[in-house]
């Protein structure tokens, strides 16, 4: 009896297309799940498993499901889609996995399959359409916005959502978001429209190109400015290639791999002549680094994508690797650091930003417990899965010590989400990007030097 | 039955009759020399509906049992010796009738020991110690029988030989059946062989005796707490009441016995720590090596047992009290009132780190039983329990020496019934009359 069971339980995984329920192209890669031995070490790393306690919402559960579709055991249907789309794509499981299983990659491939099989309808489809197809890929649309919410209201989407009664939390949630929208700062894309190369402060040691990002440039233009300041301060020339576009991360997360590929191609071309692509948004950086994944079936573009992704670097790592000036002016603040998933788990960047913070005089650094646990932002996850996002955020906020004055991080999505958390819990902490702090410290240095000069001049006079 | 049974009454009149005051008496004694014999004896008894009482050293006749006479006493006294000792594996397999001293002496040659320190090592056999789950002060560091036994051979009442556990130190194959027989008071089967984990004999040992007068007992307790909260690793944290302390070291004061067993440097370091942290007004003395060993030797012989308790004029009870670790101290403190109220003397010791205490209550029969009830009350308030380990048969029938049935007693009955449906073995020796 046992032997029979062994035999029947041991169905060969998707080797022939005949049993698989996936579409033939760009399906989840067998080599990715092959390494998973179902050991379960990923469970406690997964925010959705921690929240639900249910294994279909755990990394190994999802991998098992993805594999089961290939084995023809289950269909590409809603039952399969739910756990696959509940995933925050935070990649914490990749870090926890002893065998380096690329769960994130599998999830994205599976999402692509699901969207082919069952295109989004209803409010989720509308939301997704609005953000992903109608907004992010179009810089000019992004720029004409004064805020996401206004666009949301104007676009008539709000009406659609209300009319269908899709989700009562939706307006609340977006209202929450509106209240934490940062004051809109000038976009660097616009500012440097007519500048080819932003000069280095001293003798240039390198020339780097910057991805401005869509949300980042519109909502956090000051962070992009800080990034430019910090780079040029450390003797880098900066270029902002004009043709660049949205990185496509959110599209790929949402299963829209077609648009993802389109955007990827545009960026690969836009940065063709760049030697280094510096990114200050972890999610974007991770997506750029993973472009080759999108072109598994296209050898020519795969090669170009590989060459491109080699050039991509997060700003903190770039500065750490190439050296940066340690500021002199103290920034007397109690600061903690939140690991953006796509920086820590996605790109393995943990130490560099922390070191940067510690190098600023006067910074009273506290390590956040569970610093690398997702905050729930996860691209537009907090809009499509607000309840789960909120539960994940609650867990995150519990770890933030009361007395912290600033929470630093390296991803705009996290910044919005954490800002919401701070507000919800009535905290006083300010949400900042790591390069901003370095920039502010440099500014203070500058003021001090100028102050000294004018003081010296005054004394002379 | 046609075993070579001897009839104790005919052999040795006077001393036997004294021992018989503790009950658990077989009309005939059978002393098998092989497991086959044991198996045969049980099988026959089981078939013929005879009752069997198991004994080997004979020191526990006063422990449990509300049945005065059995058809047979199965004496394990001659089923002894080491079966297998694997020096490199640090395990030993020994027959049940081997005394603790015999076993330790054997192992000593290889610088190894069994890490269990029950009373009366010269008389107590390993089989008896395991069946009654005996332990001493050193269980704080080394654990008790359930932590040390890795395998058993047990003869079931129907004569079947069952092995439980194995010969390896780590083993989860099947149910942990060893646990069933440890402390089962011989009511489920006759343990014939025991396999145990061994430890190296410590390279050095010392014993710090810290004494404090009665009004300073709280300081002593505090010392116990701070040792436990430190990273020091005492082998014992045994608290003695003044009466026992007087008897042991001639100091009528609460005394904490803090033993260390490790390399010399480590023991010295810890002795110094105690010296530094002992409360003001406490008196401390350090015994090392042979001195410490001598002390423990005396200590293990202070309690009465059915072989030594020959006094006719006073009645003695030994009560095992189990509680949460720190309640050892609370209960001992309160037990003073027992002496005052009942006209008995009480000698007591208990481990602050392991929760097991022993009380020796001496006095007139009724006073002693009243004192035992009193002690049990104090203990039960703190969710502990008190089991009488040594008492005259007549008195055992007057008090429930196990202190009542647990809520899941039906499981005990089920287990007993499944293994010994005819109640052949040590019937009524254990809790709830099983």
């Amino acid at each position: 009896m046992l032997k029979e069971m062994a035999a029947s339980g041991q169905t060969a995984p998707c080797s022939s297309a005949s049993i698989s329920n996936y579409f033939s192209s760009d399906h989840p890669d067998e080599n990715k799940w092959m390494d998973c031995v179902h050991c379960g070490m990923c469970l406690e790393a997964c925010p959705t498993y921690l929240e639900t306690g249910q294994e279909q919402h755990s990394p190994r559960g999802r991998v098992h499901l993805i594999k089961s579709v290939a084995e023809g055991k289950i269909q590409l249907n809603e039952q399969f889609a739910d756990p696959v789309f509940q995933c925050l794509d935070c990649r914490a499981c990749t870090t926890a996995c002893p065998a380096d299983v690329d769960v994130g990659g599998l999830i994205e491939e599976a999402r692509g399959q699901i969207r082919q099989a069952m295109p989004l309808k209803g409010w989720k489809g509308a939301v997704s359409m609005f953000f992903l197809k109608g907004l992010f890929p179009y810089q000019e649309r992004m720029h004409t916005l004064s805020g996401l919410l206004k666009f949301y209201q104007r676009s008539g989407l709000q009406k659609v959502v209300r009319k269908t009664g899709a989700l009562k939390v939706m307006p609340d949630h977006l209202a929450n978001m509106e209240s934490i929208m940062p004051a809109i700062k000038p976009s660097v894309q616009k500012k440097y429209k007519d500048v080819d190369v932003i000069p280095a402060r001293g003798v240039p040691k390198a020339r780097v190109s910057m991805l401005t990002g869509c949300i980042m440039d519109v909502m956090f233009g000051d962070i992009n400015q800080s990034t430019i300041n910090v780079l040029t301060h450390n003797d880098n020339e900066v270029t902002i290639p004009k043709k660049q576009t949205c990185c496509g991360a959110l599209h790929v997360h949402a299963g829209d791999r077609k648009t993802g590929r389109k955007l990827a191609k545009q960026n690969i071309e836009a940065f063709e002549n760049s030697e280094k692509v510096v990114v200050n948004a972890a999610g974007c950086g991770c997506a750029l680094k993973e472009y080759p994944e999108l072109f598994k079936d296209d050898p020519e573009w795969k090669a170009r994508a590989e060459a491109f992704s080699e050039k991509v670097e997060d700003v903190s790592k770039y500065l750490y690797d190439t050296g940066y000036e340690k500021p002199q002016s103290p920034l007397n603040k109690k600061i903690t650091y939140h690991d953006a998933c796509h920086l820590a788990h996605g790109q393995g960047v943990r130490h560099e930003p922390r070191q940067m913070l510690k190098d600023i005089p006067g910074v009273d650094y506290t390590e956040l417990s569970n610093a690398d646990t997702c905050c729930g932002s996860a691209g537009i996850y907090n809009i499509t899965n607000p309840e789960m996002a909120e539960a994940v955020l609650d867990r995150k906020m519990e770890d933030v010590p009361q007395e912290v004055e600033m929470i630093s991080m390296g991803n705009p999505g996290c910044m919005l989400q954490m800002a919401m958390g701070v507000q919800k819990y009535g905290r006083k902490s300010e949400i900042v990007h790591t390069v901003q702090l370095l920039d502010w410290a440099y500014q203070k240095d500058k003021q001090m030097i100028q102050g000294d000069r004018s003081k010296a001049a005054a004394e002379k006079g | 039955m046609d075993f070579q049974a001897s009839h104790p009454g005919q052999q040795n009149g006077s001393s036997v009759s004294l021992v018989d005051r503790f009950g658990n008496k077989g009309a005939a004694v059978v002393t098998p020399k092989s497991e086959d014999e044991i198996s045969e004896i049980l099988q026959k008894a089981n078939q013929e509906g005879k009752s069997v009482s198991i004994e080997s050293g004979g020191s526990k006749r006063g422990y449990g049992g509300i049945k005065e006479n059995y058809d047979y006493t199965l004496s394990m006294a001659e089923y002894k010796g080491v079966v297998e000792h694997n020096v490199g594996d640090m395990t030993v397999t020994v027959r049940a009738g081997t005394t603790i001293t015999e076993l330790q002496e054997f192992l000593q040659e290889h610088h190894q020991m069994i890490a269990i320190d029950p009373n009366w090592p010269d008389q107590s056999t390993i089989g008896g110690v395991i069946a009654a789950n005996e332990s001493g002060p050193k269980r704080l560091k080394y654990g008790s029988a359930r932590d040390l036994v890795i395998g058993l051979r047990v003869v079931y009442p129907d004569g079947q030989v069952i092995r439980t556990g194995g010969k390896v130190v780590k083993n989860v194959a099947g149910y942990d059946m060893n646990k069933l027989f440890i402390g089962a008071m011989g009511t489920l089967g006759v343990i014939t062989e025991i396999t145990m984990k061994l430890r190296p004999i410590p390279k050095y040992e010392s014993l710090v005796q810290v004494s404090a007068s009665e009004d300073r007992i709280d300081d002593l307790k505090q010392l116990g707490v701070s040792i436990q909260d430190s990273m020091k690793e005492p082998v014992t944290l045994e608290l003695l009441n003044p009466a026992l302390s007087k008897k042991m070291i001639n100091r009528e004061a609460y005394t904490l016995l803090i033993a260390f067993e490790d390399v010399e440097k480590s023991c010295r370091d810890q002795e110094e720590w105690i010296e530094k942290h002992k409360p003001d007004g406490c008196y401390a003395e350090v015994l090392t090596q042979q001195e410490a060993q001598n002390f423990w030797k005396t200590f293990r012989s202070h309690a009465p047992n059915s072989l030594t308790d020959k006094a006719a004029e006073i009645t003695q009870a030994v009560v095992k009290v189990a509680s949460k670790n720190m309640d050892v101290y609370q209960i001992m403190k309160e037990s003073k009132s027992i002496e005052l109220e009942h006209d008995v003397s009480v000698e007591a010791h208990g481990g602050l780190g392991h929760g097991i205490s022993h009380y020796i209550v001496s006095g007139k029969g009724e006073e002693v039983t009243a004192a035992v009830y009193h002690l049990r009350r104090i203990t039960e308030v703190r969710k502990g329990y008190a089991v009488v380990k040594h008492l005259l048969y007549d008195l055992r029938n007057q008090i429930d020496i196990w202190g009542g049935k647990t809520s899941y007693f039906f499981l005990f009955e089920g287990i007993k019934h499944t293994i010994d449906p005819n109640n052949t073995l040590n019937h009524q020796r254990f809790i709830g009359g099983i």
Partner: protein, 488 residues
Amino acid sequence: MFKNKKKKKTQRDPHINKLIEIVGEKEVLYEDADLLSYDCDGFTVHRAMPKAVVFPENTEEVAAIVRYCSINDIPFLARGAGTGLSGGAIPLNREVIISLVKMKHLLSVDYENRQAVVQPGFVNLKLTNSISDKGYYYAPDPSSQYVCTIGGNVAENAGGAHCLKYGVTTNHILGLEVVLPNGEIIEISEDGVPDSPGYDVMGLLTGSEGTLGIVTKITVRILKNPEGKQTVLAYFDHIEDGSRAVSDIISAGIVPAALEMMDKTAIEGVEAGSYPVGHPDDIEALLLIEVDGILAGIEEQIDQILSVCKGRNVREVKVAESEEERGRWWANRKTGFGAMGAISRDYLVQDGVIPRSKLPEVLKNISEISKESGLRIANIFHAGDGNLHPLILFDSSNPGETEKALKAGTACLKACSDVGGSITGEHGVGIEKKEEMRFVFTDEELEAQIKIREVFNPDDLLNKGKLFPTPSRCMDVKKIVKDTVAVQ
């Protein structure tokens, strides 16, 4: 919370409706796609679908579920994190799985009495993390401690690298609350008072692989951190030298806190995994040795260990210079099983135990088994207590290779039991080693154990078909015949 289109009440199995009544709709899974994640645990060779998965949040709910199942003759079993390696949580009989992961709270810590009370779904390592600020820890540390639950640890009597000195789970359990297979709740050694009068039911339940009852509350012993700790890493050119060094260390009268060994293939795996240390790739064995205790006494022991290793021709031996380095060595070791995924598509881990002095002999036998089967076998194990973990590497997509691996696994266990060892040291029997139980127990001994099960679990509804070979005796044969007929 999830907008799943689920079946309406009227379309559902009435038993499912009843379970929903007990724990609420969100806490019951019954759709196939949801259940699929529960068709196996850490042992993936056998798979079977449950009837439902329920997530009770307290003891009363567990008892109510159990009572309902028991009255209605529905097989059921308990599951924690599902990291078990012998298939103990696999629903062979379309069980209702009672997942205890929502009972995941630390109920109390009593430092003075050195005990903590946890719910069964509380994760092992979280206990240590919760008490480490006061300098305390929970000793049993299975490699899966980041995720495995203490309830699961009790069921399996889990061990770990440090149980050489500190013992396994059973040595650290002070009290249990248990739901018996009929739904009755019992409390053993409430408040953790030792030596509770009566048979040691707690000891029996620990390691009973979820066949005697469902543990719903656990009182555990907590320990104070050792004052000092030193970790040694030793590389050997010959595996025989490495295994002899193990015996030498123990014979020298040292009781290390941990004494771990890896062979060449295992080293290849961990170096390809997520936590490489940079071990040389041409050594045959490495030992990871940890000594802890009073600081003043450690140096002497380390010196002794170093000289023992040198006496056994060690190539290189070093003492960890920082906590960080020590952490890296341990992460490398503890993720060892999972890391095999990096060098092999599938693996089967075995768990034999041998008397430590037989190490060289048995390792030789295992390498013979590897040659005969044509499968690579990595050894990564607790050498100090003789607990071997041969990892049989195979590729299930090659026809017949799974069977070959299973056969090699059995042969490894035979090699262990032949030298007086055991078939499992910490992973349990589960489904995996049922047949191999015959290597170590006679029919009578197996029957003695089954009789004990019948006292607790007379209808055999709780985790049926685990632990014991089938059929082990006439009565079981009859039962199976009856069941088969009923199914047909």
